[in-house]
Symmetry: C2
Subunit: 161 residues, 2 copies
C-alpha cells in the first residue's frame, strides 16, 4: 500500500470514530445526571472527555492497522464488528443521557463490551499491536458497565417506566 | 461429543434464543402501531409471529451446529457475535414498540443486520450448513430494515423528539 492511501485510510478511520463520538456527545450529562445518586468512586465529569478522546484515537489506530494489513477482504468480519461496537457506543449515550434509561443502557453496554472483546480477539489475530490498542477500551467499558449498573440500582425510584 | 451433551446443547441454544424472543415479545404492536401510516406492501401483523418463530429455530440450530463442531474455544468470536445480535434483536423491539422510536430502532436494526452478516460469515467457515441457516434471517432483517425505514419516513410528524 502506498503511503498516500495509508494516510488517507488513517484519516478515514479517525473520521468514522470521531463521527460516532460526535453523535454520542450530543447526549450529555445535564440536570438529570447531576441529580442521580452516585457511588463514592464515581469519577468527576471532567475525567470522561479526555479518557474518551484517547480511547477513540486508540481504537481508530487499531482499526487502521488491521485494515492496512488485511483489508476488508482479509478482515471483513473484524472490521464490521468494529463498526457495530461504534453503533452500540453511540446508542449507549442515547439510551443513558438522551432517554434517561440506565436499565436499557446497561443491556446495551454489556453488548458493547462483548463486541469490544470480539474485536480485540479478531484484531489480535491480524496484528497483536492492534489487539493491544483495544485493551484500554475494553477495561474502561468494563468499569463503565459497573458504574452504569450502580447508577441504575441506586436510582431505581427516579427512573421512568 | 456424547449424544446427551449434544442434545443438552441444542436445548441450551433454543432456550437462549427463545429467551430473547420472549423478552422482545413483551413489546408489541398496539394502538400506536395501528395508527402509523404504512406502505402498501406492509405485511399483516399475523405474518410476523410465524416468520419469527421459524427464524428463531433456524438461528438456534445454526449456533448449536457451530458450538458442537468447534466449541467456545474454536468459535468464541462467532458465538459471542451471535449473542450480540440477540441483544440487538431484543433492543429493536424495545426501541420500536416500547419507546415508539422508529429512528433509533432503524440505527439498531442496521447494526443488527451487520451483526447477522458477520455471524453468517463466521459460521460458514466452521460449517456451511450453519452459515446457510442464518441466510433467511439476514434476508428477513434486510426487509425489516427497509420497512422500519419507510415507517420512520412516513410518520415523522407523529414521533416524539
Amino acid at each position: 500500500m502506498g503511503i498516500g492511501k495509508s494516510i488517507l485510510g488513517l484519516a478515514g478511520w479517525l473520521m468514522a470514530t470521531f463521527a460516532a463520538a460526535w453523535i454520542g456527545s450530543r447526549y450529555r450529562p445535564g440536570a438529570w445526571y447531576a441529580l442521580l445518586a452516585k457511588p463514592s468512586w464515581n469519577p468527576p465529569n471532567s475525567v470522561f472527555g479526555p479518557v474518551w478522546t484517547v480511547l477513540y484515537v486508540l481504537m481508530a489506530v487499531a482499526a487502521w492497522l488491521v485494515w492496512r494489513k488485511a483489508g476488508f477482504s482479509g478482515a471483513g468480519p473484524a472490521l464490521i464488528v468494529f463498526v457495530i461496537q461504534l453503533v452500540l457506543n453511540v446508542m449507549w449515550s442515547y439510551l443513558f443521557f438522551g432517554l434517561h434509561r440506565p436499565d436499557a443502557a446497561f443491556v446495551d453496554i454489556v453488548a458493547l463490551w462483548m463486541a469490544i472483546l470480539v474485536v480485540m480477539i479478531l484484531f489480535w489475530r491480524v496484528d497483536w499491536v492492534a489487539g493491544g490498542l483495544m485493551a484500554p477500551y475494553a477495561v474502561w467499558v468494563a468499569f463503565a458497565s459497573y458504574l452504569n449498573f450502580m447508577l441504575w440500582r441506586l436510582n431505581r425510584g427516579l427512573l421512568p417506566g
